[in-house]
């Protein structure tokens, strides 16, 4: 047991993000805890809960009130600011996430990029800002409110299409760097708008995953930009990259990010052996095979595996499948609490 006095969830999360002592390991999902069951429970279904701040806040709050996590994350998808800058969105139905229509890119090259000056006033950006204000008002002293601002690599996928952008990165690395440099302003501005609204920390997804690009790519194109985000966004940042990332964790650990949200394709012990105490790790309960397909016992095993490795914040590896059972999710904080009693 820890000799640190009992903390409130918010205090616990912020301490863990800063690698300071905690009373117990916090539970956190920096991407999304929304499920269809939770939507029904509070009458806040998709797609409306992605576009209406009241519904967004109500659904997000269930991550704490119903599931018992130490954080609340209102941004369930990765499309809000992309929609605000002009990407076409398929909003989908209750049982599916909205997605950017990446086969209909809005820009082809650096010269095409025209970020609307008023994109932060767009309803899909404002929805996030207003939802954070509501959550800050209702839970601000107790629970850590986490916002989300997309990194320039992910924004480039959305705005230029995945294949054209990846091919451009090979054909014209200099232009690629200049594109990222231009898009970074969206990351910083949307992040800072959420801080003004009351966010305690921000998830920064930037999908330079090992499933698509090499670790050397991360170093070449993104490491310095991520260092810059740490300098220009004055609250803890949680970098999120899906898939295999062990080969770039050393670079990630050099950025000064508070935490890295890591995928189950990376082993907890192997990962923390690389990152050490330079960046907190958040994760990495498997979504499709464990949370979606198995029962509480399998979830418990993965939570314990992470705790025993010393992972600083425990949670699912990514946005949880919308059909995940509440039972499989509540077992995460329950297991963490039990483990700390022993």
């Amino acid at each position: 047991m820890s000799d640190v006095k009992e903390m409130k969830p918010r205090e616990r999360v912020l301490a863990a993000l800063n690698r300071q002592p905690v009373d117990r390991t916090p539970t956190c999902n920096p991407t999304s805890l929304a499920t269809v069951e939770l939507m029904d429970l509070v009458d806040a279904p998709f797609p409306q809960a992605n576009r209406d701040p009241e519904l967004m806040a109500r659904l997000a709050a269930t991550g704490h009130t119903e599931l018992g996590f130490d954080t609340i994350m209102p941004v369930f998808s990765i499309i809000q600011e992309s929609s605000a800058v002009g990407c076409k969105i398929q909003w989908e139905q209750k049982d599916n996430w909205p997605t950017v229509k990446m086969r209909e890119p809005i820009w082809e090259s650096l010269e095409d990029i025209r970020v609307p000056t008023d994109y932060l006033l767009h309803p899909d950006a404002q929805c996030v800002i207003e939802a954070i204000k509501i959550l800050k008002r209702d839970y601000g002293d107790e629970v850590a409110i986490i916002g989300k601002t997309m990194g320039p690599w992910s924004l480039a996928y959305h705005c230029m299409g995945v294949e054209p952008f990846l091919l451009l990165s090979l054909d014209d690395p200099d232009q690629t760097k200049r594109i990222l440099d231009k898009l970074k302003q969206i990351t910083i501005e949307f992040g800072n708008a959420q801080i003004e609204a009351g966010a305690d920390a921000l998830t920064l997804p930037d999908h330079a995953t090992g499933d698509l690009v090499s670790g050397e790519y991360y170093d070449r194109f993104l490491r310095d930009l991520h260092i810059e985000f740490v300098e220009k966004i004055p609250i803890p940042l949680i970098l999120h990259i899906c898939g295999r990332t062990v080969d770039r964790m050393e670079y990630i650990a050099q950025t000064g990010m508070s935490a890295f949200h890591y995928d189950s394709k990376n082993k907890p012990q192997e990962s923390i052996d690389i990152t050490g105490d330079r960046v907190s790790l958040v994760g990495n309960i498997n979504n499709p095979e464990t949370l979606f397909s198995k029962g509480p016992e399998a979830v418990r095993d993965e939570v314990i595996n992470n705790l025993e490795a010393g992972i600083q914040l425990i949670g699912p590896e990514c946005a949880i499948p919308l059909q995940t059972s509440i039972e499989n999710l509540t077992v995460i904080p329950e297991t963490v609490k039990e483990w700390h009693k022993n």
């Binding site: 997605t99 294949e163 990846l166 090979l170 698509l212 499709p288 397909s293 059909q323």
Partner: protein
Amino acid sequence: MAELSDIQNAFIRAEIEEYLERPEEIQRNIEVFAKARPILQDISAALIDGEHHEVDRLTRQCLDDGIEALEIMDDGLIAGMGIVGIKFRENIIFVPEVLACARAMKAGMAHIEPILSASGIDPIGIVVMGTVKGDLHDIGKNLCIMMLRGSGFVVHDMGVDTSEDQFIEAVEEYGAPLMGMSALLTTTMPNMGKIIEAFIDADLRDDVKIMVGGAPVTQTFADDMGADGYGGDALACVELAKRLLTETDEE
């Protein structure tokens, strides 16, 4: 049995020496390249290097010199793509490099395809591929298509957000004995099962072998859905397609 030194192109020799580790793959590739004409080895080397302009130029030169289109495709383009697939599987290269190689393949095939079509040569197989309904992600599916085409398959790409009706219509229209479905989202994975059910309901399930893949998809999930096979990456997709085609021929 051919030896590495029988391959004239130094770049190809270096690729095999440096990047291939499995003995059977090393020997198979040595055999393939050792028997290939030097200019076809050059096409392979340019393709592996992602040099589409060079592949375009060399392919035209080969045709001008009277080399058969089928030989250029098999011993130049497909042979080169074989090395690309292995390097991708082993994380030696990543998606940007594969995209460049596929672009080079396409540059060569632009000259080859019309000749093969006109001469009525059958492809090794016809495949219908698509990302399932509700899912707009296609990079994994596209990589599989590139590798399938790079191995001599004719692929009909249904794109993204493909409904069961669209899959059924395509399989019937193209007479495809193989179909591949992809999903990136855990929310859309179950649609694979619904599409397989639709083939059963349409009394077409025995007419087509169904492959599934995608980042969250596993062999267990594929089995539960009733798929005929699962591929973990683009090269595995090609091997699976070849195996399923052999099974179809034997049935």
